[in-house]
């Protein structure tokens, strides 16, 4: 990892994240995936929204855009359409990607444009002090829900699949090496890829919900995650309260920038 930090991080560490925050772990998994695939650093763009997680782009030595809250996907779409040769990786949070940015999320998935989205799911708005998000589990405490949340959370992986994403995976900060693998597969996939990275915010989600310190929250990830392969052998009762990790969905569909190029080619030939 030390060599990867020299190569892929800007010389501005330590980062601002709180002690035990999972963002540093998930970010290192992204970097390991990029290194594993040998992506050209000058042909790889990282786009993020706003949030603690979205701050990651500022530490990484690529062309990066730390955009607006909820708007990472439209910015990334523009970059990818302007130069489809670029590898465009999006870093977003559960608030950034599924609340204010939720509409962009479903429509970008529907287009099946070749972007790789890593959604840091810490179940909370960390940066602004612990408000609940669409991925906060029912009956959780948040500064905006002192008596507990009423809403059911989205299963963002199911939502992505239903909206048309052609690669959907989930990993955790605890299983950081496996996360590298599912991110690398997502980058290699030609289409819209969503990787949900389950991560811990010990400060705002953890404290309000008595989840313990970072180690305790990592143990919860360890104990509740079931690999897709292992889940096949378990009954619905045994899977109660657990979540699946690994590649959850992969399919083929026309990729948007290629379809777009085909239209340009047709128009330039003067054909209708």
């Amino acid at each position: 990892m030390e060599k990867l930090i020299e190569k892929y991080y800007r010389p501005r560490l330590p980062h601002i994240w709180c002690p035990g925050c999972g963002n540093g772990i998930v970010t290192s998994s992204i970097i390991k995936a990029i290194d594993k695939l040998g992506l050209d650093q000058d042909k790889t763009v990282i786009v993020s929204g706003i949030g603690c997680s979205s701050r990651a782009s500022g530490y990484l030595n690529f062309d990066t855009v730390h955009s607006l809250h909820g708007r990472a996907l439209p910015v990334a779409t523009g970059i990818k359409l302007a130069d489809p040769e670029l590898n465009v990786i999006v870093i977003t949070g559960d608030g950034d990607g599924t609340a204010i940015g939720g509409n962009h999320f479903i429509h970008t998935a529907r287009r099946n444009i070749n972007l790789t989205v890593i959604l840091f799911n810490n179940n909370i708005y960390g940066m602004t002090g612990g408000q609940y998000s669409p991925l906060t589990p029912t009956d959780s405490k948040a500064t905006t829900a002192p008596y507990g949340t009423l809403e059911r959370a989205f299963d963002i992986a199911e939502l992505a699949k239903a909206a048309g994403a052609t690669y959907v995976a989930r990993g955790t900060a605890f299983h950081a090496n496996m996360l590298v693998d599912v991110i690398a597969k997502g980058i290699s996939h030609d289409g819209f890829s969503l990787i949900e990275a389950v991560t811990q915010c010990p400060i705002y989600f953890g404290r309000q919900n008595k989840k313990g310190d970072a180690s305790a929250m990592l143990k919860t990830q360890r104990d509740n995650a079931v690999t897709v392969e292992a889940a096949k052998k378990l009954s619905p009762e045994q899977l109660e309260g657990k979540f699946k990790i690994g590649v959850l969905h992969q399919s083929e569909a026309p990729e948007y920038t290629k379809q777009y190029q085909a239209i340009i080619d047709r128009a330039q030939k003067g054909a209708k």
Binding site: M1, E2, I5, Y9, L13, P14, H15, W17, C18, P19, G20, C21, G22, N23, G24, I25, S28, A173, F174, A176, N177, P202, D213, A214, S215, L218, K219
Partner: protein, 61 residues
Amino acid sequence: MAIKTIGKHCKGCGVCVTFCPKQVLGLDALGKITVVDETKCITCKQCEMRCPDYAIFVEKK
């Protein structure tokens, strides 16, 4: 084998201490990472993999 720690980057979260399978690591009086017994290290690199602050690196020699 060598364990390298960067005290300046360590925020004392204790994650590496918790998940080290061989009790090699600890926190010092200031709450910073310290190597208690390097001879027990099996270079599994779990500490390095989960350190959120890039404050510990393990070299296999």
